[in-house]
C-alpha cells in the first residue's frame, strides 16, 4: 500500500486506559487521543478487517469485572456492549497451581479477534481459558466449548499470569481453521470453525513438567503467521522460539543465536514471510532485557539466524518488558513495526526494524498494541 495516501492507527491498551495514536504514511508525527476508559485495564483492542472503523476493546477491573466496548467510528465514540461470558454447560474443573482440581471461573477477556469478513463476528480468548464468539457485534457471547471439552481440559494448569487464552489466529485462506494458544496448556487448532479442536504441541519441549514432551502443559506465549502462508507458524514459547511448517502438526526450534530464547511477543513482516521479530528477555523471573539493552531481534531466514536491532532503542539502563500482545506490524510498502513496553513507551520503526523512535514515552504499562493500515 502506498505511503503517501495512507494512514496508520495504533490501538494501545494499557493498565490504566486505551490510547489511539494516528499518523500519516510517513509515520513520523503522531496524534495521541486518550485515555479512553481511564483507570481501567485494557487488555486488548482490535479493529475489524472488514470495517476498519469498527473497533472492539476489552475493558476490565478487579473491582467491577469485564466490560466490552465497541466503536463504529474508529475510536472516537464508544458504546458498552454485552459483557456476559458464561461457560457452556457445567464448567468442570482444571488443575490449580498445586495440582488440585479447580472450577473454571471467568476472570477477563485477554484477546479479541474480529472475523476477517464480518464486522459483527468477533472471537474472544478469555481467562480461565475458553473460546467465545459473538455474531451480533458484541451484544451476546457464546462459548465454543469444544475446546475445553476436547479431553485434556481437566489437565490444563495456569501460568504465572493466569490460565489465559491469549492468541487467536484465523487462517485467511480457510476461516474454518483457527489457531489459539493458552498459557500454560499450549497451542490448539480447529478445522471446523471451533466445533472440535486438537492440541498442536508435538516438538515442544518443556523442562519442569512431568513429561517434557506432553501433549498439553506447555507455556506458549504467542504464535504468529503470515497471511500468505498460513501453514507456517512461529511461536515464542516460555523458553524457545519455535517454527512449524505444517500448521502446527510438528514444531522445531529456531532460537539459534538469540541471547536468550525467553520472551513474549513474536511477529512476522508484512511482506516478507521469512522475516520475523522477537524481543529476548532475561528469565527466570527478571523479565527485563539482558544487560539493560532493549533489542528487537530480527531473522530474515524464518528463524535460527538472528540480528539485533538497536538503532533508536535504549542501550543502557533499560529494564522494561514487552508483553505478548504488545507488538504489531502495518502493511505499508515499507513495513512498520511497533511495540509497547511495561515502562509506557511505544516504539515504532517505519522501515522494518532498521530505525526506531519512541512515539510516546510515558503511558501506563502497555498491555497490547495493534495497528491498522488505513487507505
Amino acid at each position: 500500500m502506498g505511503e503517501k495516501m495512507s494512514r496508520v492507527r495504533l490501538l494501545v491498551g494499557t493498565r490504566k486506559g486505551a490510547f489511539v495514536l494516528t499518523s500519516d504514511g510517513k509515520r513520523q508525527r503522531w496524534d495521541i487521543s486518550g485515555p479512553h476508559f481511564a483507570g481501567w485495564e485494557i487488555y486488548h483492542l482490535k479493529g475489524s478487517p472488514a470495517d476498519p472503523n469498527r473497533l472492539y476493546a476489552s475493558q476490565s477491573s478487579g473491582w467491577f469485572g469485564q466490560v466490552i466496548q465497541r466503536s463504529n467510528d474508529g475510536g472516537k465514540i464508544w458504546e458498552p456492549v454485552g459483557n456476559q461470558f458464561a461457560y457452556d454447560g457445567v464448567p468442570g474443573t482444571h488443575q490449580w497451581y498445586d495440582g488440585t482440581a479447580h472450577p473454571w471461573e471467568f476472570k477477563r477477556v485477554w484477546h479479541l479477534e474480529p472475523s476477517l469478513s464480518d464486522p459483527d463476528t468477533v472471537y474472544a480468548g478469555v481467562e480461565d481459558a475458553a473460546f467465545f464468539r459473538t455474531t451480533d457485534g458484541g451484544q451476546t457471547w457464546q462459548e465454543l466449548s469444544g475446546l475445553r471439552g476436547h479431553g485434556s481440559g481437566p489437565h490444563w494448569q495456569p501460568g504465572a499470569g493466569g490460565m489465559c487464552l491469549h492468541t487467536i489466529l484465523i487462517d485467511p485462506s480457510n476461516p474454518e481453521r483457527i489457531f489459539i494458544a493458552i498459557s500454560a496448556a499450549g497451542a490448539f487448532r480447529t478445522d471446523d470453525g471451533g466445533k472440535t479442536w486438537k492440541p498442536i504441541n508435538r516438538g515442544l519441549r518443556t523442562e519442569g513438567i512431568p513429561n517434557p514432551e506432553a501433549e498439553v502443559g506447555h507455556c506458549v506465549h504467542r504464535i504468529a503467521l503470515h497471511p500468505s502462508r498460513p501453514n507456517v507458524l512461529f511461536m515464542q514459547k516460555h523458553w524457545d522460539v519455535m517454527r512449524s511448517d505444517d500448521a502446527g502438526d510438528s514444531w522445531r526450534e529456531v532460537s539459534g543465536n538469540l541471547p536468550t530464547d525467553f520472551g513474549f511477543p513474536i511477529d512476522v513482516h508484512a511482506h516478507e514471510p521469512e522475516t520475523i521479530y522477537v524481543v529476548p528477555i532475561k528469565s527466570d523471573s527478571e523479565h527485563y532485557p539482558p544487560d539493560g539493552k532493549l533489542r528487537v531481534y530480527r531473522s530474515r531466514t524464518g528463524g535460527s539466524e538472528w540480528e539485533a536491532l538497536t538503532n533508536g532503542l535504549p542501550q543502557r539502563d533499560c529494564y522494561v518488558n514487552v508483553l505478548r500482545d504488545a507488538m504489531a506490524v502495518d502493511s505499508l510498502d515499507s513495513c512498520g513495526v511497533y511495540f509497547g513496553t511495561t515502562g509506557g513507551q511505544v516504539f515504532a520503526s517505519p522501515d522494518g526494524g532498521d530505525h526506531w523512535d519512541a512515539i510516546v514515552q510515558l503511558l501506563p504499562p502497555v498491555l497490547s498494541v495493534e495497528v491498522q493500515t488505513l487507505s
Binding site: G62, W63, F64, G65, Q66, V67, P80, N83, Q84, A86
Partner: protein, 98 residues
C-alpha cells in the same frame, strides 16, 4: 424513591452524574434496588454482582446509614431511611489495589 450513589467508575460507565434515583416496586432490598438499577442502566449488569449467581463482586461493598450491609441477605429489607429516600444506598469500590 430510592437514592443510589455509585462509585466513580460505575457513574462513568452508566454516564450519570451524582446520585441516581430509582423506583422500586414492593419492599426495598439489595436485590430489588440492584435489579431496578440494572434495568435502568443495563451497562451495570455484571459490574456489581455476578451475571449468573448474583453474588456480590468481592471488591464491591454496599453501605447505608453508616452501616456495612455487604454481608446482609440480598432479600433483607433495607433501612427505613433508605426506603424513604432520606438516606442514599451507597455502592462502594473497596479501597485496594494500585
Amino acid at each position: 424513591m430510592i437514592r443510589v450513589l455509585l462509585p466513580y467508575h460505575l457513574r462513568t460507565l452508566a454516564r450519570v452524574d451524582g446520585e441516581v434515583t430509582i423506583e422500586v416496586e414492593g419492599q426495598a432490598t439489595q436485590r430489588s434496588v440492584l435489579d431496578a438499577l440494572e434495568a435502568r442502566y443495563p451497562t451495570l449488569r455484571g459490574t456489581m454482582r455476578d451475571h449468573v449467581t448474583q453474588q456480590r463482586r468481592p471488591f464491591v461493598r454496599f453501605f447505608a446509614c453508616e452501616q456495612d450491609l455487604s454481608h446482609e441477605s440480598p432479600d433483607a429489607p433495607l433501612p427505613e431511611l433508605v426506603a424513604t429516600g432520606a438516606e442514599p444506598f451507597l455502592v462502594v469500590g473497596a479501597i485496594a489495589g494500585g
